[in-house]
Symmetry: C2
Protein backbone atom coordinates (compact mmCIF):
# COMPACT_ATOMS: atom_id res chain seq x y z
CA UNK A 1 0.00 0.00 0.00
CA UNK A 2 1.32 3.41 -0.98
CA UNK A 3 0.56 6.17 1.51
CA UNK A 4 0.91 9.51 -0.27
CA UNK A 5 1.26 12.80 1.60
CA UNK A 6 2.21 16.25 0.30
CA UNK A 7 5.88 15.94 -0.68
CA UNK A 8 6.23 12.43 0.69
CA UNK A 9 5.24 8.81 0.04
CA UNK A 10 5.66 5.55 1.97
CA UNK A 11 5.25 2.05 0.63
CA UNK A 12 3.83 -0.31 3.26
CA UNK A 13 4.56 -4.00 2.64
CA UNK A 14 4.44 -7.24 4.59
CA UNK A 15 7.44 -9.50 5.15
CA UNK A 16 6.88 -11.54 1.99
CA UNK A 17 7.87 -8.56 -0.14
CA UNK A 18 10.93 -7.24 1.71
CA UNK A 19 13.55 -8.55 -0.73
CA UNK A 20 11.51 -7.67 -3.79
CA UNK A 21 10.93 -4.12 -2.58
CA UNK A 22 14.68 -3.62 -2.07
CA UNK A 23 15.24 -4.63 -5.69
CA UNK A 24 12.34 -2.88 -7.35
CA UNK A 25 11.37 0.20 -5.35
CA UNK A 26 13.15 3.54 -5.31
CA UNK A 27 12.18 7.11 -4.53
CA UNK A 28 9.89 6.29 -1.61
CA UNK A 29 10.38 5.10 1.94
CA UNK A 30 9.58 1.38 2.43
CA UNK A 31 8.17 0.08 5.70
CA UNK A 32 7.63 -3.60 6.50
CA UNK A 33 4.57 -3.92 8.70
CA UNK A 34 3.46 -6.65 11.09
CA UNK A 35 -0.27 -6.35 11.66
CA UNK A 36 -1.85 -5.57 8.34
CA UNK A 37 -1.47 -2.76 5.85
CA UNK A 38 -4.62 -0.89 6.78
CA UNK A 39 -3.86 -0.76 10.49
CA UNK A 40 -0.32 0.40 9.62
CA UNK A 41 -1.72 3.13 7.39
CA UNK A 42 -3.96 4.39 10.20
CA UNK A 43 -1.08 4.36 12.67
CA UNK A 44 1.14 6.28 10.26
CA UNK A 45 -1.59 8.88 9.80
CA UNK A 46 -2.01 9.31 13.57
CA UNK A 47 1.78 9.45 14.11
CA UNK A 48 2.77 11.95 11.44
CA UNK A 49 -0.16 14.37 11.48
CA UNK A 50 0.61 18.03 12.00
CA UNK A 51 -2.99 19.09 12.66
CA UNK A 52 -5.74 17.52 14.70
CA UNK A 53 -7.37 15.93 11.69
CA UNK A 54 -5.91 14.52 8.49
CA UNK A 55 -7.95 14.60 5.29
CA UNK A 56 -7.79 11.21 3.62
CA UNK A 57 -8.90 10.84 0.02
CA UNK A 58 -10.45 7.48 -0.72
CA UNK A 59 -12.44 5.71 -3.37
CA UNK A 60 -15.56 4.07 -1.89
CA UNK A 61 -15.66 1.63 -4.81
CA UNK A 62 -12.16 0.39 -4.02
CA UNK A 63 -12.18 0.21 -0.22
CA UNK A 64 -14.04 -2.39 1.80
CA UNK A 65 -15.99 -1.46 4.91
CA UNK A 66 -13.48 -3.49 6.98
CA UNK A 67 -10.46 -1.70 5.47
CA UNK A 68 -11.95 1.69 6.21
CA UNK A 69 -12.77 0.62 9.77
CA UNK A 70 -9.20 -0.68 10.32
CA UNK A 71 -7.65 2.59 9.20
CA UNK A 72 -10.09 4.62 11.33
CA UNK A 73 -9.52 2.56 14.46
CA UNK A 74 -5.72 2.85 14.14
CA UNK A 75 -5.90 6.58 13.35
CA UNK A 76 -7.85 7.09 16.60
CA UNK A 77 -10.33 9.61 15.19
CA UNK A 78 -7.67 11.79 13.57
CA UNK A 79 -9.01 11.18 10.09
CA UNK A 80 -11.65 12.78 7.90
CA UNK A 81 -12.58 10.95 4.72
CA UNK A 82 -12.84 12.80 1.42
CA UNK A 83 -14.69 10.97 -1.34
CA UNK A 84 -12.30 10.96 -4.31
CA UNK A 85 -14.34 8.69 -6.55
CA UNK A 86 -12.83 8.45 -10.01
CA UNK A 87 -9.82 10.67 -9.25
CA UNK A 88 -7.22 8.00 -10.03
CA UNK A 89 -9.35 6.56 -12.82
CA UNK A 90 -9.52 9.99 -14.50
CA UNK A 91 -5.72 10.38 -14.28
CA UNK A 92 -5.34 6.98 -15.89
CA UNK A 93 -7.88 7.39 -18.69
CA UNK A 94 -5.49 9.35 -20.94
CA UNK A 95 -2.35 7.37 -21.73
CA UNK A 96 1.08 8.94 -22.25
CA UNK A 97 3.54 7.96 -24.99
CA UNK A 98 5.20 5.19 -23.01
CA UNK A 99 1.84 3.74 -22.00
CA UNK A 100 0.61 3.81 -25.59
CA UNK A 101 3.77 2.00 -26.72
CA UNK A 102 3.08 -0.74 -24.19
CA UNK A 103 -0.57 -0.97 -25.14
CA UNK A 104 0.35 -1.24 -28.81
CA UNK A 105 2.64 -4.12 -27.86
CA UNK A 106 -0.03 -5.84 -25.76
CA UNK A 107 -2.52 -5.47 -28.62
CA UNK A 108 -0.01 -6.78 -31.17
CA UNK A 109 0.69 -9.77 -28.92
CA UNK A 110 -2.96 -10.81 -28.66
CA UNK A 111 -3.42 -10.32 -32.41
CA UNK A 112 -0.45 -12.64 -33.00
CA UNK A 113 -1.71 -15.22 -30.48
CA UNK A 114 -5.11 -15.32 -32.14
CA UNK A 115 -3.68 -15.67 -35.63
CA UNK A 116 -1.43 -18.51 -34.43
CA UNK A 117 -4.29 -20.38 -32.79
CA UNK A 118 -6.85 -20.10 -35.62
CA UNK A 119 -5.30 -22.96 -37.65
CA UNK A 120 -5.66 -25.27 -34.63
CA UNK A 121 -9.39 -24.67 -34.09
CA UNK A 122 -11.37 -27.70 -35.28
CA UNK A 123 -14.29 -29.90 -34.25
CA UNK A 124 -13.41 -32.35 -31.46
CA UNK A 125 -11.26 -29.93 -29.41
CA UNK A 126 -12.77 -28.80 -26.11
CA UNK A 127 -13.39 -25.11 -25.47
CA UNK A 128 -10.83 -25.47 -22.65
CA UNK A 129 -8.27 -26.95 -25.06
CA UNK A 130 -8.52 -23.90 -27.29
CA UNK A 131 -8.27 -21.59 -24.27
CA UNK A 132 -5.18 -23.55 -23.16
CA UNK A 133 -3.54 -23.03 -26.57
CA UNK A 134 -4.31 -19.30 -26.42
CA UNK A 135 -3.02 -18.71 -22.89
CA UNK A 136 0.07 -20.87 -23.51
CA UNK A 137 1.09 -18.64 -26.40
CA UNK A 138 0.46 -15.49 -24.35
CA UNK A 139 3.10 -16.43 -21.80
CA UNK A 140 5.51 -17.67 -24.49
CA UNK A 141 5.31 -14.17 -26.00
CA UNK A 142 6.37 -12.69 -22.65
CA UNK A 143 2.96 -11.74 -21.32
CA UNK A 144 2.61 -12.10 -17.56
CA UNK A 145 -0.75 -13.72 -18.31
CA UNK A 146 -4.26 -13.20 -19.65
CA UNK A 147 -5.90 -9.89 -18.75
CA UNK A 148 -9.08 -11.88 -17.91
CA UNK A 149 -10.10 -15.51 -18.13
CA UNK A 150 -10.05 -16.34 -21.84
CA UNK A 151 -13.52 -16.95 -23.27
CA UNK A 152 -13.97 -19.74 -25.80
CA UNK A 153 -17.70 -20.36 -26.22
CA UNK A 154 -19.10 -22.61 -28.94
CA UNK A 155 -22.55 -23.31 -30.32
CA UNK A 156 -25.46 -22.14 -28.17
CA UNK A 157 -22.92 -21.14 -25.49
CA UNK A 158 -21.53 -18.46 -27.84
CA UNK A 159 -24.72 -16.54 -27.00
CA UNK A 160 -23.58 -16.24 -23.39
CA UNK A 161 -21.74 -12.92 -23.40
CA UNK A 162 -19.57 -13.95 -20.44
CA UNK A 163 -19.25 -17.70 -20.90
CA UNK A 164 -16.31 -19.49 -19.31
CA UNK A 165 -14.70 -22.25 -21.37
CA UNK A 166 -15.77 -25.79 -20.49
CA UNK A 167 -14.93 -29.30 -21.58
CA UNK A 168 -17.68 -29.06 -24.23
CA UNK A 169 -16.27 -30.26 -27.57
CA UNK A 170 -16.44 -28.00 -30.61
CA UNK A 171 -18.75 -29.30 -33.33
CA UNK A 172 -19.17 -28.67 -37.03
CA UNK A 173 -21.58 -25.86 -37.98
CA UNK A 174 -21.15 -23.90 -34.78
CA UNK A 175 -20.24 -20.33 -34.04
CA UNK A 176 -17.25 -19.94 -31.70
CA UNK A 177 -16.67 -16.67 -29.82
CA UNK A 178 -13.04 -16.16 -28.71
CA UNK A 179 -12.47 -13.24 -26.32
CA UNK A 180 -8.91 -12.86 -25.04
CA UNK A 181 -6.30 -10.39 -23.94
CA UNK A 182 -2.84 -10.25 -22.41
CA UNK A 183 -1.10 -8.29 -19.70
CA UNK A 184 2.25 -7.33 -21.20
CA UNK A 185 4.63 -4.96 -19.40
CA UNK A 186 1.69 -4.22 -17.04
CA UNK A 187 -0.80 -3.11 -19.72
CA UNK A 188 -3.85 -4.96 -20.98
CA UNK A 189 -5.26 -5.84 -24.35
CA UNK A 190 -8.72 -7.28 -25.02
CA UNK A 191 -9.87 -8.64 -28.39
CA UNK A 192 -12.80 -10.75 -29.58
CA UNK A 193 -13.21 -12.63 -32.81
CA UNK A 194 -16.01 -14.96 -33.85
CA UNK A 195 -15.36 -17.84 -36.23
CA UNK A 196 -17.60 -20.49 -37.80
CA UNK A 197 -16.76 -24.17 -38.01
CA UNK A 198 -17.79 -25.07 -41.56
CA UNK A 199 -19.68 -23.12 -44.20
CA UNK A 200 -22.05 -20.72 -42.54
CA UNK A 201 -25.67 -20.04 -43.41
CA UNK A 202 -26.91 -16.78 -44.91
CA UNK A 203 -28.46 -15.96 -41.54
CA UNK A 204 -25.08 -16.17 -39.78
CA UNK A 205 -23.40 -14.26 -42.57
CA UNK A 206 -25.99 -11.48 -42.32
CA UNK A 207 -25.64 -11.31 -38.53
CA UNK A 208 -21.87 -11.17 -38.83
CA UNK A 209 -21.96 -8.40 -41.40
CA UNK A 210 -24.34 -6.37 -39.22
CA UNK A 211 -22.06 -6.67 -36.17
CA UNK A 212 -19.00 -5.72 -38.22
CA UNK A 213 -20.83 -2.72 -39.68
CA UNK A 214 -21.98 -1.72 -36.20
CA UNK A 215 -18.40 -1.90 -35.01
CA UNK A 216 -17.15 0.18 -37.94
CA UNK A 217 -19.89 2.76 -37.39
CA UNK A 218 -18.92 3.02 -33.72
CA UNK A 219 -15.22 3.36 -34.56
CA UNK A 220 -15.97 6.06 -37.13
CA UNK A 221 -17.49 8.32 -34.48
CA UNK A 222 -14.40 8.17 -32.25
CA UNK A 223 -12.39 11.37 -31.98
CA UNK A 224 -11.49 13.90 -29.28
CA UNK A 225 -14.48 15.91 -28.06
CA UNK A 226 -17.12 13.25 -28.72
CA UNK A 227 -19.30 11.95 -25.88
CA UNK A 228 -18.69 8.37 -24.72
CA UNK A 229 -22.35 7.59 -25.55
CA UNK A 230 -21.87 8.40 -29.24
CA UNK A 231 -20.06 5.24 -30.44
CA UNK A 232 -22.65 3.20 -28.56
CA UNK A 233 -25.56 4.96 -30.29
CA UNK A 234 -23.87 4.50 -33.66
CA UNK A 235 -23.47 0.74 -33.13
CA UNK A 236 -27.08 0.40 -31.95
CA UNK A 237 -28.40 2.34 -34.91
CA UNK A 238 -26.78 -0.08 -37.38
CA UNK A 239 -28.13 -3.09 -35.49
CA UNK A 240 -31.56 -1.50 -35.27
CA UNK A 241 -31.69 -1.22 -39.07
CA UNK A 242 -30.88 -4.94 -39.29
CA UNK A 243 -33.56 -5.79 -36.72
CA UNK A 244 -30.88 -6.95 -34.29
CA UNK A 245 -30.86 -4.16 -31.70
CA UNK A 246 -32.72 -6.31 -29.18
CA UNK A 247 -29.97 -8.91 -29.31
CA UNK A 248 -27.20 -6.49 -28.29
CA UNK A 249 -27.39 -6.83 -24.51
CA UNK A 250 -24.32 -4.99 -23.23
CA UNK A 251 -22.58 -1.67 -23.78
CA UNK A 252 -20.31 -1.02 -26.75
CA UNK A 253 -16.99 -0.76 -24.97
CA UNK A 254 -14.82 0.30 -22.07
CA UNK A 255 -11.51 1.95 -21.35
CA UNK A 256 -8.45 -0.24 -21.06
CA UNK A 257 -5.01 0.22 -19.50
CA UNK A 258 -3.41 -1.13 -16.34
CA UNK A 259 -6.77 -2.80 -15.77
CA UNK A 260 -8.96 -4.47 -18.33
CA UNK A 261 -11.94 -2.30 -17.38
CA UNK A 262 -11.17 1.38 -16.96
CA UNK A 263 -12.79 4.72 -17.73
CA UNK A 264 -14.47 5.71 -19.96
CA UNK A 265 -17.36 3.35 -20.57
CA UNK A 266 -18.93 3.53 -24.03
CA UNK A 267 -22.59 3.07 -23.28
CA UNK A 268 -26.02 4.69 -23.17
CA UNK A 269 -26.10 7.97 -21.30
CA UNK A 270 -22.34 8.16 -20.75
CA UNK A 271 -21.39 11.85 -20.70
CA UNK A 272 -17.59 11.52 -20.46
CA UNK A 273 -15.80 13.22 -23.34
CA UNK A 274 -13.27 11.26 -25.39
CA UNK A 275 -9.77 12.72 -25.31
CA UNK A 276 -6.65 12.11 -27.33
CA UNK A 277 -4.67 9.26 -25.76
CA UNK A 278 -7.64 7.34 -24.37
CA UNK A 279 -7.81 3.67 -25.28
CA UNK A 280 -11.19 1.97 -25.51
CA UNK A 281 -12.59 -1.33 -26.67
CA UNK A 282 -15.26 -1.32 -29.38
CA UNK A 283 -17.19 -4.56 -29.10
CA UNK A 284 -20.77 -4.75 -30.27
CA UNK A 285 -22.32 -8.22 -30.28
CA UNK A 286 -25.59 -10.00 -30.97
CA UNK A 287 -26.71 -12.98 -28.92
CA UNK A 288 -29.57 -15.24 -29.94
CA UNK A 289 -30.59 -17.67 -27.24
CA UNK A 290 -30.24 -21.31 -28.26
CA UNK A 291 -28.64 -20.32 -31.58
CA UNK A 292 -25.39 -18.50 -30.89
CA UNK A 293 -23.61 -15.17 -30.59
CA UNK A 294 -21.29 -12.98 -32.59
CA UNK A 295 -19.00 -10.35 -31.09
CA UNK A 296 -16.18 -8.43 -32.73
CA UNK A 297 -13.92 -6.39 -30.49
CA UNK A 298 -10.88 -4.21 -31.05
CA UNK A 299 -8.81 -1.91 -28.90
CA UNK A 300 -8.89 1.61 -30.32
CA UNK A 301 -6.73 4.60 -29.38
CA UNK A 302 -8.25 8.07 -29.70
CA UNK A 303 -5.91 10.18 -31.86
CA UNK A 304 -6.29 13.80 -32.95
CA UNK A 305 -7.65 12.60 -36.28
CA UNK A 306 -9.89 9.78 -35.06
CA UNK A 307 -9.83 6.26 -33.69
CA UNK A 308 -6.99 3.96 -34.67
CA UNK A 309 -7.05 0.16 -34.17
CA UNK A 310 -4.37 -1.31 -31.92
CA UNK A 311 -5.56 -4.89 -32.43
CA UNK A 312 -4.94 -6.04 -35.97
CA UNK A 313 -6.14 -9.64 -36.43
CA UNK A 314 -8.39 -10.04 -39.48
CA UNK A 315 -12.03 -9.14 -38.98
CA UNK A 316 -13.20 -11.16 -41.98
CA UNK A 317 -15.64 -13.96 -41.20
CA UNK A 318 -13.43 -17.03 -40.87
CA UNK A 319 -15.01 -20.32 -41.92
CA UNK A 320 -12.78 -23.06 -40.52
Amino acid sequence: MLLVRPGDATLLIDGRYTFQARQEVSGVRVETVQHGLFRAAGEAIARRRRRRTVLAAYSPAQMTVAQQAAIEAAAKGHIRWVNATGAVERLRAVKDTDELARMRQAAAAISEVFSDVVPLIRPGLAELDVAAEIEYRMKRLGASGPSFETIVAAGARSAWAHARPTSKLLKKNELVVLDQGVILRDYCSDMTRTVFLGRCSRKVRRMYRAVLEAQEAAKNTIRPGVEAATPDSAAREVLRKSGLAGFFTHSTGHGLGLEVHEAPRLGKGERAILEEGMVVTVEPGVYVEGFGGIRIEDDVVVTSTGGRDLTTASRELLEL
Copy 2:
Protein backbone atom coordinates in the same frame (compact mmCIF):
# COMPACT_ATOMS: atom_id res chain seq x y z
CA MET B 1 -25.93 -11.55 -6.44
CA LEU B 2 -27.95 -13.94 -4.34
CA LEU B 3 -30.40 -12.25 -1.98
CA VAL B 4 -31.35 -14.75 0.74
CA ARG B 5 -34.41 -14.28 2.95
CA PRO B 6 -36.05 -16.73 5.33
CA GLY B 7 -37.58 -19.40 3.08
CA ASP B 8 -36.75 -17.56 -0.11
CA ALA B 9 -33.84 -16.61 -2.37
CA THR B 10 -33.50 -14.41 -5.47
CA LEU B 11 -30.59 -14.35 -7.89
CA LEU B 12 -30.01 -10.86 -9.29
CA ILE B 13 -28.13 -10.78 -12.60
CA ASP B 14 -27.46 -8.29 -15.37
CA GLY B 15 -28.44 -8.81 -18.98
CA ARG B 16 -25.19 -10.55 -19.91
CA TYR B 17 -26.14 -13.56 -17.83
CA THR B 18 -29.81 -14.02 -18.78
CA PHE B 19 -29.31 -17.04 -21.07
CA GLN B 20 -26.74 -18.65 -18.80
CA ALA B 21 -28.99 -18.32 -15.75
CA ARG B 22 -31.86 -20.01 -17.61
CA GLN B 23 -29.58 -22.97 -18.31
CA GLU B 24 -27.75 -23.22 -15.01
CA VAL B 25 -29.96 -21.92 -12.20
CA SER B 26 -32.86 -23.72 -10.57
CA GLY B 27 -34.62 -23.50 -7.22
CA VAL B 28 -34.43 -19.71 -6.88
CA ARG B 29 -36.17 -16.81 -8.55
CA VAL B 30 -33.98 -15.01 -11.14
CA GLU B 31 -34.31 -11.27 -11.78
CA THR B 32 -32.48 -9.41 -14.52
CA VAL B 33 -31.69 -5.90 -13.27
CA GLN B 34 -30.93 -2.69 -15.12
CA HIS B 35 -29.13 -0.33 -12.77
CA GLY B 36 -26.62 -2.37 -10.84
CA LEU B 37 -26.92 -5.35 -8.52
CA PHE B 38 -26.51 -3.40 -5.28
CA ARG B 39 -29.21 -0.86 -6.05
CA ALA B 40 -31.51 -3.71 -7.08
CA ALA B 41 -30.80 -5.50 -3.79
CA GLY B 42 -31.69 -2.38 -1.81
CA GLU B 43 -34.90 -1.90 -3.80
CA ALA B 44 -35.89 -5.52 -3.26
CA ILE B 45 -35.32 -5.13 0.47
CA ALA B 46 -37.47 -1.99 0.61
CA ARG B 47 -40.20 -3.60 -1.52
CA ARG B 48 -40.55 -6.90 0.23
CA ARG B 49 -40.05 -5.96 3.87
CA ARG B 50 -42.74 -6.90 6.37
CA ARG B 51 -41.48 -4.73 9.22
CA ARG B 52 -40.12 -1.19 9.28
CA THR B 53 -36.52 -2.38 9.32
CA VAL B 54 -34.86 -5.36 7.71
CA LEU B 55 -31.78 -6.90 9.32
CA ALA B 56 -29.12 -7.45 6.68
CA ALA B 57 -26.16 -9.67 7.48
CA TYR B 58 -22.98 -8.57 5.74
CA SER B 59 -19.26 -9.19 5.77
CA PRO B 60 -17.32 -5.91 6.06
CA ALA B 61 -14.28 -7.57 4.51
CA GLN B 62 -16.25 -8.48 1.37
CA MET B 63 -18.35 -5.35 0.80
CA THR B 64 -17.01 -2.05 -0.47
CA VAL B 65 -18.09 1.25 1.04
CA ALA B 66 -19.77 2.11 -2.28
CA GLN B 67 -21.70 -1.16 -2.42
CA GLN B 68 -23.00 -0.65 1.09
CA ALA B 69 -24.00 2.92 0.29
CA ALA B 70 -25.83 1.81 -2.88
CA ILE B 71 -27.88 -0.77 -1.00
CA GLU B 72 -28.66 1.70 1.78
CA ALA B 73 -29.76 4.46 -0.58
CA ALA B 74 -32.07 2.13 -2.48
CA ALA B 75 -33.46 0.61 0.72
CA LYS B 76 -34.42 4.13 1.89
CA GLY B 77 -33.38 3.65 5.49
CA HIS B 78 -35.27 0.37 5.94
CA ILE B 79 -32.10 -1.56 6.63
CA ARG B 80 -30.03 -2.35 9.70
CA TRP B 81 -26.65 -3.96 9.13
CA VAL B 82 -25.55 -6.97 11.16
CA ASN B 83 -21.85 -7.74 11.08
CA ALA B 84 -21.60 -11.39 10.05
CA THR B 85 -17.82 -11.52 9.66
CA GLY B 86 -16.60 -15.03 9.00
CA ALA B 87 -20.08 -16.60 8.96
CA VAL B 88 -19.82 -17.92 5.41
CA GLU B 89 -16.11 -18.68 5.83
CA ARG B 90 -16.85 -20.83 8.88
CA LEU B 91 -19.52 -22.76 6.99
CA ARG B 92 -17.03 -23.39 4.23
CA ALA B 93 -14.04 -24.42 6.36
CA VAL B 94 -15.26 -28.01 6.84
CA LYS B 95 -15.71 -29.81 3.53
CA ASP B 96 -18.36 -32.45 2.89
CA THR B 97 -17.78 -35.71 1.03
CA ASP B 98 -18.49 -34.28 -2.41
CA GLU B 99 -16.23 -31.30 -1.78
CA LEU B 100 -13.41 -33.56 -0.60
CA ALA B 101 -13.76 -35.68 -3.74
CA ARG B 102 -13.38 -32.57 -5.86
CA MET B 103 -10.42 -31.32 -3.83
CA ARG B 104 -8.73 -34.71 -4.16
CA GLN B 105 -9.18 -34.42 -7.91
CA ALA B 106 -7.82 -30.85 -8.00
CA ALA B 107 -4.81 -31.93 -5.94
CA ALA B 108 -4.20 -34.97 -8.15
CA ALA B 109 -4.37 -32.75 -11.22
CA ILE B 110 -1.69 -30.33 -10.00
CA SER B 111 0.51 -33.22 -8.90
CA GLU B 112 0.23 -34.68 -12.40
CA VAL B 113 0.91 -31.32 -14.06
CA PHE B 114 4.03 -30.81 -11.98
CA SER B 115 5.36 -34.31 -12.68
CA ASP B 116 4.76 -33.81 -16.42
CA VAL B 117 6.58 -30.46 -16.48
CA VAL B 118 9.65 -31.46 -14.44
CA PRO B 119 11.38 -33.18 -17.40
CA LEU B 120 11.06 -29.95 -19.42
CA ILE B 121 12.75 -27.69 -16.85
CA ARG B 122 16.26 -26.80 -18.02
CA PRO B 123 18.66 -23.86 -18.23
CA GLY B 124 17.78 -21.45 -21.05
CA LEU B 125 14.00 -21.54 -20.58
CA ALA B 126 12.44 -18.37 -19.20
CA GLU B 127 10.49 -18.48 -15.94
CA LEU B 128 7.46 -17.48 -18.02
CA ASP B 129 8.04 -20.40 -20.41
CA VAL B 130 7.88 -22.87 -17.53
CA ALA B 131 4.75 -21.15 -16.18
CA ALA B 132 3.22 -21.39 -19.67
CA GLU B 133 3.89 -25.15 -19.79
CA ILE B 134 2.32 -25.59 -16.36
CA GLU B 135 -0.84 -23.58 -17.03
CA TYR B 136 -1.26 -25.16 -20.48
CA ARG B 137 -1.40 -28.62 -18.93
CA MET B 138 -3.86 -27.46 -16.26
CA LYS B 139 -6.47 -26.55 -18.84
CA ARG B 140 -5.77 -29.65 -20.92
CA LEU B 141 -6.62 -31.70 -17.80
CA GLY B 142 -9.98 -29.93 -17.62
CA ALA B 143 -9.14 -27.31 -15.02
CA SER B 144 -10.92 -24.00 -15.56
CA GLY B 145 -7.54 -22.40 -14.86
CA PRO B 146 -4.85 -21.75 -12.26
CA SER B 147 -6.11 -21.01 -8.74
CA PHE B 148 -3.57 -18.13 -8.62
CA GLU B 149 -0.88 -16.81 -10.94
CA THR B 150 1.67 -19.63 -11.19
CA ILE B 151 4.98 -18.79 -9.52
CA VAL B 152 8.20 -19.85 -11.22
CA ALA B 153 11.10 -18.05 -9.53
CA ALA B 154 14.73 -18.92 -10.21
CA GLY B 155 18.05 -18.01 -8.61
CA ALA B 156 17.98 -15.04 -6.25
CA ARG B 157 14.34 -14.49 -7.23
CA SER B 158 13.42 -17.80 -5.59
CA ALA B 159 13.91 -15.95 -2.28
CA TRP B 160 10.94 -13.73 -3.13
CA ALA B 161 8.06 -15.56 -1.49
CA HIS B 162 5.54 -14.05 -3.93
CA ALA B 163 7.59 -13.62 -7.10
CA ARG B 164 5.76 -13.43 -10.42
CA PRO B 165 7.40 -15.24 -13.33
CA THR B 166 9.44 -13.04 -15.68
CA SER B 167 11.41 -13.44 -18.88
CA LYS B 168 14.52 -14.19 -16.79
CA LEU B 169 16.21 -17.32 -18.19
CA LEU B 170 16.88 -20.27 -15.90
CA LYS B 171 20.61 -20.90 -15.32
CA LYS B 172 22.68 -23.85 -14.11
CA ASN B 173 23.23 -24.06 -10.34
CA GLU B 174 20.08 -22.22 -9.38
CA LEU B 175 17.18 -23.02 -7.10
CA VAL B 176 13.76 -22.82 -8.79
CA VAL B 177 10.59 -22.46 -6.71
CA LEU B 178 7.43 -23.62 -8.51
CA ASP B 179 4.13 -22.77 -6.77
CA GLN B 180 0.98 -23.73 -8.66
CA GLY B 181 -2.58 -24.87 -8.30
CA VAL B 182 -5.69 -25.48 -10.37
CA ILE B 183 -9.39 -24.76 -10.10
CA LEU B 184 -11.12 -27.99 -11.09
CA ARG B 185 -14.89 -28.43 -10.72
CA ASP B 186 -14.82 -25.15 -8.73
CA TYR B 187 -12.31 -26.28 -6.08
CA CYS B 188 -8.69 -25.20 -5.66
CA SER B 189 -5.40 -26.94 -5.18
CA ASP B 190 -2.10 -25.26 -4.26
CA MET B 191 1.28 -27.01 -4.30
CA THR B 192 4.90 -25.86 -4.18
CA ARG B 193 8.03 -27.77 -5.07
CA THR B 194 11.61 -26.49 -5.23
CA VAL B 195 14.11 -28.01 -7.64
CA PHE B 196 17.81 -27.40 -8.31
CA LEU B 197 19.37 -27.07 -11.76
CA GLY B 198 22.55 -29.15 -11.47
CA ARG B 199 24.20 -30.79 -8.48
CA CYS B 200 23.46 -28.79 -5.37
CA SER B 201 25.85 -27.77 -2.61
CA ARG B 202 25.77 -29.17 0.92
CA LYS B 203 24.32 -25.85 2.06
CA VAL B 204 21.33 -26.15 -0.26
CA ARG B 205 20.90 -29.81 0.64
CA ARG B 206 20.88 -28.93 4.35
CA MET B 207 18.39 -26.12 3.85
CA TYR B 208 16.14 -28.39 1.80
CA ARG B 209 16.22 -31.13 4.41
CA ALA B 210 15.36 -28.63 7.16
CA VAL B 211 12.34 -27.32 5.24
CA LEU B 212 11.13 -30.84 4.49
CA GLU B 213 11.53 -31.82 8.15
CA ALA B 214 9.71 -28.67 9.21
CA GLN B 215 6.88 -29.56 6.85
CA GLU B 216 6.69 -33.13 8.16
CA ALA B 217 6.72 -31.90 11.76
CA ALA B 218 3.86 -29.53 10.98
CA LYS B 219 1.86 -32.25 9.21
CA ASN B 220 2.39 -34.64 12.15
CA THR B 221 0.59 -32.26 14.53
CA ILE B 222 -2.52 -32.08 12.36
CA ARG B 223 -5.62 -33.78 13.75
CA PRO B 224 -9.09 -32.73 14.98
CA GLY B 225 -8.99 -30.67 18.16
CA VAL B 226 -5.57 -29.09 17.60
CA GLU B 227 -5.17 -25.31 17.48
CA ALA B 228 -4.33 -23.77 14.09
CA ALA B 229 -1.18 -22.31 15.67
CA THR B 230 0.25 -25.75 16.48
CA PRO B 231 1.48 -26.86 13.03
CA ASP B 232 3.09 -23.43 12.64
CA SER B 233 4.96 -23.75 15.96
CA ALA B 234 6.11 -27.24 15.03
CA ALA B 235 7.55 -26.05 11.69
CA ARG B 236 9.28 -23.07 13.33
CA GLU B 237 10.80 -25.27 16.03
CA VAL B 238 12.51 -27.49 13.43
CA LEU B 239 13.84 -24.48 11.55
CA ARG B 240 15.00 -22.88 14.78
CA LYS B 241 17.13 -25.94 15.55
CA SER B 242 18.75 -25.59 12.10
CA GLY B 243 19.35 -21.88 12.67
CA LEU B 244 16.90 -21.04 9.88
CA ALA B 245 13.91 -19.69 11.84
CA GLY B 246 14.75 -16.11 10.86
CA PHE B 247 14.47 -16.99 7.17
CA PHE B 248 10.88 -18.28 7.41
CA THR B 249 8.98 -15.06 6.79
CA HIS B 250 5.37 -16.13 6.37
CA SER B 251 2.85 -18.35 8.10
CA THR B 252 2.81 -22.13 7.68
CA GLY B 253 -0.43 -22.52 5.78
CA HIS B 254 -4.01 -21.61 5.03
CA GLY B 255 -7.36 -23.24 4.37
CA LEU B 256 -8.28 -24.03 0.81
CA GLY B 257 -11.55 -24.73 -0.98
CA LEU B 258 -13.69 -22.69 -3.38
CA GLU B 259 -11.04 -20.01 -2.87
CA VAL B 260 -7.31 -20.46 -2.66
CA HIS B 261 -7.16 -18.68 0.70
CA GLU B 262 -9.82 -19.71 3.19
CA ALA B 263 -10.12 -20.34 6.90
CA PRO B 264 -8.32 -21.50 8.95
CA ARG B 265 -4.91 -19.83 8.77
CA LEU B 266 -2.03 -21.85 10.23
CA GLY B 267 0.06 -19.18 11.90
CA LYS B 268 1.27 -17.71 15.16
CA GLY B 269 -1.51 -17.01 17.64
CA GLU B 270 -4.27 -18.60 15.55
CA ARG B 271 -6.82 -20.03 18.00
CA ALA B 272 -9.15 -21.76 15.51
CA ILE B 273 -9.51 -25.48 16.20
CA LEU B 274 -8.84 -27.95 13.40
CA GLU B 275 -11.85 -30.13 12.56
CA GLU B 276 -12.28 -33.26 10.52
CA GLY B 277 -12.91 -32.31 6.88
CA MET B 278 -10.87 -29.11 6.87
CA VAL B 279 -8.29 -28.80 4.11
CA VAL B 280 -5.16 -26.74 4.70
CA THR B 281 -1.86 -26.09 2.97
CA VAL B 282 1.35 -26.85 4.84
CA GLU B 283 4.11 -24.77 3.30
CA PRO B 284 7.11 -23.75 5.34
CA GLY B 285 9.91 -22.02 3.44
CA VAL B 286 13.28 -20.38 3.96
CA TYR B 287 14.36 -17.34 1.96
CA VAL B 288 17.94 -16.07 1.89
CA GLU B 289 18.29 -12.71 0.20
CA GLY B 290 20.61 -12.78 -2.82
CA PHE B 291 20.99 -16.56 -2.56
CA GLY B 292 17.61 -18.21 -3.03
CA GLY B 293 14.59 -19.78 -1.39
CA ILE B 294 13.12 -23.19 -0.74
CA ARG B 295 9.44 -23.89 -0.11
CA ILE B 296 7.62 -27.23 0.01
CA GLU B 297 3.84 -27.15 0.09
CA ASP B 298 1.13 -29.78 0.18
CA ASP B 299 -2.63 -29.75 0.60
CA VAL B 300 -3.61 -31.75 3.65
CA VAL B 301 -7.06 -32.92 4.72
CA VAL B 302 -7.78 -33.27 8.43
CA THR B 303 -9.10 -36.81 9.07
CA SER B 304 -10.14 -38.43 12.34
CA THR B 305 -6.72 -40.09 12.56
CA GLY B 306 -4.55 -37.16 11.43
CA GLY B 307 -3.52 -35.18 8.37
CA ARG B 308 -3.51 -36.88 4.98
CA ASP B 309 -1.76 -35.46 1.89
CA LEU B 310 -3.96 -34.68 -1.11
CA THR B 311 -1.03 -33.54 -3.27
CA THR B 312 1.25 -36.41 -4.15
CA ALA B 313 4.17 -35.21 -6.30
CA SER B 314 7.54 -36.37 -4.94
CA ARG B 315 9.03 -34.24 -2.19
CA GLU B 316 12.56 -35.55 -2.79
CA LEU B 317 15.11 -32.91 -3.73
CA LEU B 318 15.16 -32.99 -7.55
CA GLU B 319 18.50 -32.15 -9.17
CA LEU B 320 17.75 -31.51 -12.85
